[in-house]
């Protein structure tokens, strides 16, 4: 009885693709791109809320990565390296556009409108009970000011810790926490307003 012929694998594993890319293999570059393109593009899109900008930034992130691939030694996960690089590319872009990456404002003191407990719009009728529609949440995130959006995406969506965010964007840990809290409060307001609007409840 003959042994079944072993089928040649047509897929790269990532470590092999990286080594081949270092040698200039076009298919290896494309395999790495195909494997990570959606996550990189999603990150760029969430942080910019603009599809054309997100594509340009994703392109730049991959180009920077591939130019440096010869220096990758495997100490950390390739995806982590790429992800961090993508975040830096987006932040550089935001800085060039003179958009606030993170507000320099620390936690506000009393007397500021933001510190006043929000008036509820018909309280129970628009409470965010149960679950949040993902599309509505995405739209609310897209509506956030760029600084708030950056912090929220990095921490709550992408999972960066405050000490990492502080190092990436150049702020203090306290500022990162403060901005994140304000971002979440703003999202809450946007989501409640959206529900109030749909329920036909006028603002008080």
């Amino acid at each position: 009885m003959t042994e079944p012929r072993q089928r040649q694998s047509t897929e790269f594993n990532e470590a092999e693709a990286i080594e081949r890319a270092k040698q200039g293999d076009a298919e290896a570059f494309q395999a790495l791109y195909d494997r990570h393109k959606r996550r990189v593009y999603s990150l760029c899109l969430r942080m910019t809320a603009n599809t054309a900008e997100a594509e340009d930034l994703a392109q730049e992130a991959f180009l920077q990565l591939f130019r440096k691939i010869g220096t990758f030694r495997g100490e950390s996960a390739f995806s982590t390296w790429l992800h961090r690089l993508s975040v830096n590319v987006v932040l550089m872009h935001l800085r060039k556009k003179s958009l606030p990456v993170v507000s320099l404002e620390e936690t506000t003191q009393g007397g500021n409108e933001e510190d006043t407990p929000k008036k509820d719009f018909g309280a129970d009728d628009v409470a965010l009970a149960g679950s949040i529609d993902r599309l509505q949440l995405q739209r609310a995130v897209d509506s956030l000011p760029p600084g708030y959006r950056t912090i929220f995406v990095l921490h709550d969506v992408e999972g960066y810790e405050h000490n990492e965010i502080a190092g990436i964007v150049g702020c203090s840990i306290g500022n990162s926490k403060s901005q994140l809290h304000k971002a979440r409060m703003k999202l809450r307001d946007l989501l409640r307003m959206n529900r109030a609007g749909k329920a036909g409840i006028p603002k008080q």
């Binding site: 791109y33 393109k37 392109q59 709550d156």
Partner: protein
């Protein structure tokens, strides 16, 4: 602890679990609702809809840049240069024969160069007007992408400059070594790169 203080403290202890926060929450339904709603937002965040794939032009631009920079050193995976035109004829139909003419002229140029050493000095190189006559005019490419973002336009301009330099380098190699197969192949690849760039520009500009 007041409601204001409770809200401020959530920046540090977001789940309201401290003793002080719990003491306030036991008697304040508004702040309790606030903590619950923030928790809902936090738990929903990781489930945000992932975007679709970026458009094909992203990879095309990356590949062109990698080739220009010499980071891709192996043969490209086989694919027709003008494959995307087959899927989108429309008003871009004229591009197909134009690209074909360009490649034929490139091949003719290369063959003339290699056929006789004596003819080398007598045959004029394929000049910009010849390329223009083939229908692939740089100005037309730039006009086709003029409605793109400034960043995208700059990228196309840069890619166009690089591919023209690539073509010039390849032509010089063929002129210096008419019998060199590798040089001739490089020149044909260079023209293919330019056709691909036009391919991308037209693809992106189509609705």
């Amino acid at each position: 602890m007041t409601c204001v203080e409770l809200q401020q403290s959530l920046a540090e202890i977001e789940d309201g679990s401290s003793a002080e926060q719990q003491h306030h929450l036991r008697s304040c339904s508004s702040c309790t609702a606030l903590v619950e709603e923030l928790a809902l937002i936090i738990s929903s965040a990781p489930e945000l809809i992932e975007a679709d794939d970026p458009s094909p032009r992203v990879w095309n631009s990356i590949e062109i840049a990698l080739r220009q920079e010499g980071l891709i050193r192996s043969q490209r995976a086989k694919r027709p240069v003008i494959s995307s035109f087959g899927a989108r004829w429309g008003w871009a139909r004229w591009m197909v024969p134009a690209a074909a003419v360009l490649l034929i002229m490139a091949g003719t140029y290369v063959n003339r160069r290699s056929s006789s050493r004596q003819m080398v000095n007598n045959i004029a190189p394929l000049s910009t007007p010849d390329v223009a006559a083939a229908g692939l005019n740089d100005d037309e490419l730039l006009e086709a992408v003029s409605d793109q973002t400034p960043v995208a336009q700059a990228q196309y301009q840069d890619n166009l400059r690089r591919v023209n330099e690539y073509i010039q380098d390849a032509k010089m190699s063929v002129e210096a070594n008419p019998g060199d197969e590798e040089a001739r192949r490089s020149l044909l690849e260079a023209y293919q790169e330019k056709a691909m760039l036009f391919d991308m520009a037209m693809d992106r500009s189509l609705p």
